[in-house]
């Protein structure tokens, strides 16, 4: 009876609800079964972000959270330092020597004097 009412008023069918729920629960199940995938994902994520900012690798947290209709990955990545942004490179000119290159950013702690 209630199913009929749901269909008449355009609600999702129980089978489409089931399909969606299964899709999400299997994602969670698969993640639970593969902790090494999560570790690899975490490591790769840190590597990529580290190209842009300096992060505290030991304090990085990666969690998966279920909301009702989606699985979300939440990453908490503490940023230790962000280098001063450098101006965009000059477009190359036809004649004359190439413009002198600016000092390159280095994402490391070797130079505490330049850390911001």
């Amino acid at each position: 009876m209630i199913e009929w009412v749901k269909k008449v008023f355009g609600g999702p069918t129980s089978s489409s609800t089931a399909k969606e729920r299964l899709r999400l629960v299997l994602m969670t199940d698969h993640l639970a079964l593969a902790p090494d995938i999560i570790e690899n994902m975490k490591r790769d994520l840190i590597d990529v972000i580290s190209r842009y900012v300096e992060v505290d690798r030991d304090k990085v947290e990666v969690n998966f959270e279920r909301e009702d209709r989606a699985l979300a990955m939440l990453a908490n990545i503490p940023i230790v330092s962000v280098n001063r942004p450098s101006p965009p490179p000059q477009p190359p000119t036809q004649s004359g020597p190439p413009p002198r290159r600016r000092r390159r950013k280095k994402p490391s702690v070797q130079n505490p004097a330049t850390a911001h």
Binding site: M1, T17, A18, V25, D29, R66
Partner: protein, 286 residues
């Protein structure tokens, strides 16, 4: 895991202190054969008891193949599971999931990525005992089979409900399980997925047939309804409703479990009622 200590009714000098809180009942729902409706029964009976105001804790003991969460529609809320609690990684309260629909119902989910042999039997017993001190009913959803999963599921329980379908293999398996349950339990029987039309045609065992073989006190009889599939699709147990044959059957079972004197389902009574319903609704099959 929190350890509650039962207070003694009297201290040593004989002066009465507050009486010990009444210990809840721990009931394992088992069958031997898989697919007969243990999880569905646990979910619906638990819901029906909670709807009556009882405090109910459900434990999914099917480590590695958990399904009680999905039948209740709680799969998105499960964060921690049975083994996390048994291994003291989290407290019981952190792991218990409150039901979406029934206020006084909680679930302790099974672990999906672990194996049944990782469950410590003694810790399982202590866990159930601990839950009994806080809840009126602790229902344990037993896995199929008679291996370690089964043994761990029954360890904390003091009552058993066996679920059987009217099929030869199911009856045979229940018979074996009853033997394994031993003298500690006086199991009660639920016959599930009865199809009155088929019984009438002699193509399915009747309630009488099953009971003649098993000879267990009959707790209830539930007919096979497509509604069960639909409600599982949605994660909304049928016992949330109060209309319909199956919902009513679960409510009657809950009442009996609670000790009420609901007219016991005499096989003849159930058969004739089912007959009438069967013919009214036509019983179309694939």
């Amino acid at each position: 895991m929190h350890q509650h200590i039962l207070r003694q009714a009297q201290d040593d000098s004989g002066v009465e202190i507050a009486p010990a809180p009444k210990l809840g009942r721990a009931i394992v729902v088992t069958s031997g054969k898989g697919g007969v409706g243990k999880t569905t029964t646990t979910a619906n009976l638990g819901t029906a008891l909670a709807q009556r105001g009882a405090r109910v804790a459900l434990i999914d003991a099917d480590v590695g193949l958990r399904n009680l969460d999905i039948v209740l529609g709680l799969e998105s809320r499960v964060k921690y599971h049975l083994l996390d609690v048994l291994e003291d990684k989290v407290t019981l309260d952190e792991a218990l999931v409150r039901d979406k629909h029934s206020e006084t119902l909680v679930l302790l989910a099974a672990a999906q990525s672990r194996e049944k042999d990782e469950v410590d039997t003694e810790k399982m017993r202590a866990l159930v005992q601990g839950l009994r001190e806080r809840y009126d009913y602790v229902l344990i959803d037993c896995p199929a089979g008679i291996e370690l999963g089964f043994k761990n599921a029954i360890v904390g329980a003091d009552e058993a409900i066996v679920v059987c379908t009217p099929e030869v293999s199911a009856v045979r398996d229940v018979d074996r399980v009853v033997g394994l349950l031993g003298n500690r339990f006086k199991p009660q029987l639920i016959i599930n997925r009865l199809r009155p039309q088929l019984v009438k045609k002699g193509k399915m065992l009747s309630v009488e047939d099953v009971n003649a073989i098993l000879r267990l006190p009959l707790l209830g009889v539930i007919a096979d309804e497509p509604e069960i599939i639909i409600t599982t699709n949605r994660g909304e147990p049928l016992a949330l409703r109060h209309d319909g044959e199956t919902a009513s059957a679960y409510h009657a079972i809950a009442a009996r479990v609670a000790g009420e004197d609901v007219p016991a389902p005499s096989p003849e009574f159930k058969e004739s009622l089912m007959d009438k319903l069967g013919s009214i609704f036509g019983g179309k099959r694939a």
